[in-house]
Structures are given as structure tokens and as C-alpha cells.
Amino acid sequence: MLVDMNSFFASVEQQANPFLRGRPMGVAASLHETSCLIATSKEAKAMGIKTATSIYKAKKIYPGIVVVKNEPEKYREVSRQINTIFSDYTDQVEPYSIDESFLDLTSSKTNPVMVGMEIKRRIREEAGEWLTCSVGIGPNKFIAKLAADYQKPDGLSVLWASQLREVYGGKKLSDLWGISRGWTKRLAGLGIFTPRQLMDYPLANLMAMFGKPGYYLWQKVNGLDEDIIATEEDVSKSFGNSWVLNFRTMDKNLLAPVVLRLAEKAARRMRREGFVSSGVYISVRLADGGGFQQFRKLKFKINTGLELYIQAMSLWQSWKFSSPVMHIAVGFTSLSPKMNQTSLWPKQEDNLTPVLDKINDKYGEMMIRPGSLTRTSDYAPDSIAFGK
């Protein structure tokens, strides 16, 4: 089962402030006219104002739109409350994103439709009367996702693999969950443009072209996926942070503190989870649509923001920006659990880092920080990931 909260951030804002209900409104990370709406209310969507529309464009469509600045803690709290409700029905819950969770009800004795109805009611009663969700029920995650998308907002749909051909009518490949733009392009090369065409394509030919991924794709689109629910306890593969800059420049000296701040944030999260890393990545998107990205495998382990920053700086040294930078992402990969074995050659940071963490745990993030991060508090503020 998939429970997909409708217009989540906007609905939470309307829950908090009832005077926003019934009004076209949006949520943005910044109230600058060029900023994009990270969520729009059902009323705004009905007017054609979709997520990712800029505030400027949204105001052109409807000058009276109310835009509020996002408050990530608010959404996390409601998401936590909702996931607590799910845990009353199964311990196999995969929070796929802040507003979508998969529930494995295979071992539940209750009819999934009854569970779905009860969850919808409890969300309204316990988390907030303005919060609605679309529930999709199916034999696997892919079909549950299709079912949830079938009726929005506030729907509950059940879908079986045998109904897929009918549901695919009029759909494009890119409408399907898990089919990337890259796949759409590759399949177009074979003359496959629709889900029905992919369903009917000879499996042997797909496998000859794409190998195992071709098989998995065919299996997915035919509703034969055998998936597992990845619960929160499952191991993370990377820790990274990214930010759409609130200024534009090509000057690397001005951009370096942004990289350091993102690196420090990622490092704090990684240490909190008890990991060290032997891989790093950095990616940069430019205003002209171009960009750079690079990954580096290390022969040693790192766990501080400064170490990630140094690696990232050496990676981007050769990059020449043709236009101002608008987005930076940096992070750790190749993770392994931190061992508490004492090193024969301890580094100074080995003793210092836990003390700095303790200070920041007690007094707040970045309370103690590298000097170059002074007056950078508006760089990469607390934000929330949505979608996946």
C-alpha cells in the first residue's frame, strides 16, 4: 500500500493557519520572486499553478496567491505523526519521502481497503482535519504507486496487475514511476513510446539490448516486481547536502564557503549515524544549463566536513564555469560503520571532532564552526527533501 499525502507542505500550512484554507497558496524556500514553489495547495493546482512554478509566474496566473516560507520542522513533525499511525498496522513501513510511505500489509489479517480507509480517517482526526491523502493498494510498490496516482486528491484505489493494460491507456512511458528520462530515450530508439508497447515487447530482445536492467524494466511494467520494503533501519548509501544558491556568481572564492557549509552539514549527519566514508562527490549546475560532477574514491577514511571540503576543492580545481553557478551538491559515499579501535597514529581531529559535536549538540548547529563560515547563516538553511 502507498499512502501519498496530497499537496503536503501546503496542506500542513493550511492546517496551521485555517485562514489559508480554500485559497490558492504556495510554499517556497525563499520569498524572492525568482524562487520556485516547492508545494502548491489543491486550490492553486486547480488554477494550473504547479509545484516548481516560480513565484513570479504564479503571481501572473493568480495575483492573489499567498506564498509562505517553508518551515521544515513543521512538515517533519506531521510526517512523524502520520508514520506513527502507520506503525499501528505493520512494522514494514518504508518512508519513501516526507509525504509518501509504502506499507507492506502482506501479513496483516485486516482487509487492506479497510486499513486504507481507517488510515485516512485517523490522519484527519489525529494529525489535522485539513490533511488528506491518496491511498493506492496493489500487489507491489509499482502498482500501489499507480493506484495512488489514479485518484487525487483524497482517493483510495485498488489495482491488480491484470488491470494494467487498461490503466496504461493514454499514458506515456515518462508517466510511470521509476522510468527515467534516460530510459525513455533508450526505449524510443527501439520504437517503444508507450507502456503498452513496452509490455508487449519481446523480453528476449530487451535483455539482449539492456541485459538484466532490461528484464527488471519489463518485469516492472508488467506488474511482476518483487520488491522489498526498505525500512528506516536500512543502511544509508551516502550523506550529502545540496543547495540552490540565493546569489549567482562564477567566483570560486565566493562559492567555497557554500561548499564548506554543505560539507559540514553532511559530515554532522554522517557522524551522528556512526559512519565514515571513503568516497566523495561534488556536482555543480550552472545557470546556462551546463554543469560538472565528479566522484572520487579515497584510499583512506574521512568523517569531517573539512576533509570533504578539501577533496571537493581539489576535484573542482580544473572546472571552468561558463556561467554563474546556481546549484551545488556535495557529499560522502562508500560508507562503512565507524570502528572504535584506537589508531596508532591518531590525528588531532580524532579528539577534536567529538568535542565540537558535543558543543553543537548542546547549543545548536554551527554554534562552533570554521571561521570562514562566519556570516554564512543564510547559506543552505534547513531544508527538506521531497520526491525521490
Binding site: F19, V66, E73, E77, D361, M367
Partner: protein
Amino acid sequence: MKVQGGAERPLFMWEIINQRVQVEVLFGLNQAQPQRFTWQGREITVKKVNLVYSSFVGRAKVYYFAVSDDTNYFKLQLETDKLAWTLVEVYSD
């Protein structure tokens, strides 16, 4: 900071206040519910608590109460380490 919004005429007023306020609170079994507070010499009766959420500033937990009366929305903040209440913002239709 004042923000006015709307098309031809302002439809709403959103104001950041950040002022300490006195709040009358009902402590129930599992929750605290602001009942009344005084701001600018006015006593405001809370009609509904719409949302409660929290965050941490270091180890100090801060609770936020999104409340409303018939015509206004208020955001109240309770700093648990100081047991101090702040009116953070007001929205009026």
C-alpha cells in the same frame, strides 16, 4: 516585518511580532493547550489549536502552537528551558 498580500487590495496582513507574552495554558493528560494570552493590552481567547510541532535549538526543545480565534492566526512559541512564551507571528484576514 509586515507583509501584505492580495490582488488589487490587500487580502491579508502577516506580521512578525517576536514579543514575549503571558499565556494561560491548560495542561491536559498528554498535551498543553494555550487558552488565552495578552498582547498589546488585549486579551485574546484561543478558539482552536490547529497544529503543535517542535524543534530543537541545541538541546533546548522549543514548541510551536499554531492557534486561531475567529479572525486571526497566531504562532506561539514555548521555550522549554526558560518556560517562556513568545508571540512569533500574526496573520489577519
